[in-house]
Amino acid sequence: MEDMPENMYYTESHEWVKLDDGIATIGITDHAQGQLGDVVYVELPELGDGFVAGDPCAVVESVKAASDIYCPIGGEVVEVNEQLATAPETINDDAYGEGWLFRLKPEDASEVDGLMSPENYIAVNSSD
């Protein structure tokens, strides 16, 4: 967990958010993909779907288990990672990069202030 990107915000339910030019990219943490194991299927939202923070918005399924993904901040989906349909294992290989799930236009980008820093996320999850 030491190598968590500093420019992202994290949730207790193991999602990350990164803000670039007013667009939020959302994924799951490397710690989460490790816990899940081999990812074999991802159910992504539709373009235009609207969520408020905490809504279930996607499902990541590994061989072991199905895991609900909760939207870290509210907004409207503007892009989904199409690559995951054919290569879901990208999440295992590159959770913070190529393995992103979807992008949204935030309703209120300041919602990220309620999320965790890498240090806080590590502190919460260090017992696992």
């Binding site: 490790g34 194991g37 081999d38 074999v40 299927y41 159910e43 499902v59 399924e61 061989v63 072991k64 199905a66 349909a85 295992n92």
Partner: protein, 365 residues
Amino acid sequence: MTMQTPLYQAHIDAGARMVDFGGWQLPINYGSQIDEHNAVRTDAGMFDVSHMTVVEIQGPDARKYLAKLLANDVAKLQQAGKAMYSCMLNAEGGIIDDLITYYLNEEHFRVVVNAATHDKDMAWLEQQTSGYDVCVNERRDLVMLAVQGPQARQKVAAVLSAEKSEQVLALKIFQAAQIANMFIARTGYTGEDGFEIMLPPDAAPSFWEQLYDQGVQPCGLGARDTLRLEAGMNLYGQDMDETTSPLESGLGWTVAIKDDRDFIGRSALLVQRQAGLQKKLVGLVLEAKGVLRPQQKLLDADGKQVGVTTSGSFSPSLQKAIAMARIDITIEGNCLVDIRGRQLPVRIVKLPFVRNGKVGDGILS
């Protein structure tokens, strides 16, 4: 408190992710569980199954006792080392557990039951000794290692002396032998050839190490589950339990009911058979994207529930979602599965999905 097997440190050294399973700390996977699965289908993998319960059944009435206890007929075991798969049933014909019985000699049989059912199994085994001159003793001094895959037998033989390896390679399917300090059985839970080996704890870590050096892949519970599912082998507590009979669980072949041997559950099974079976256990292949999981509802074209999945996962060999399911006996062909409110098509197939590295007929349509 969770228990550790004598191979605990070997698992940690091999990078295992450990989980609590039936009170035991066991590896769920070491790296990719799909890689572990594929190693067993194409080469060789090894599993620490020391959590399983080994019980010695000893005494002059050992055979008579097992004839009463088991739904399969212990009379089939006449040759030293021969193994038999069976269920033990309650009076209602429900499955208390499934187990393997080894014949050692006329006053000594060895059974291996599940870890998750340890307490109730031991109580049941003990309770049924009443009226029989027989002793039931659990062995807590054995490590059990499953080495499975098309190359498993050769790789085990390679770490043994010439004399021992000759004995080991001569074992027939479902046959075991005590070879020096190891009890080696040609059995398993993956659908591949291989051995299940019981050995003393102090010998286990070096044996593990030698197999590792032969290129035998350490495999966790994750791969064990997808392998047994592809092989169409039931998991106790998921695909069968005390509310289901072997006849409704795809295990009619393990019930020896033709002669008049009076085993526990026999009369209930006869009643069930006369009344006509209502349910059957089948295989399912998902004909859409997604993953099948246990306890998903199965529906007919009118939306009426016709069954439920009992086990489900992603099949690394088929690259599709597969499941075992208990459905109404009349249902054939196709039905629908409800996954998070969406209804997706599934095809009913004959088990197993995969055996000995080969996909079964009709599985991929």
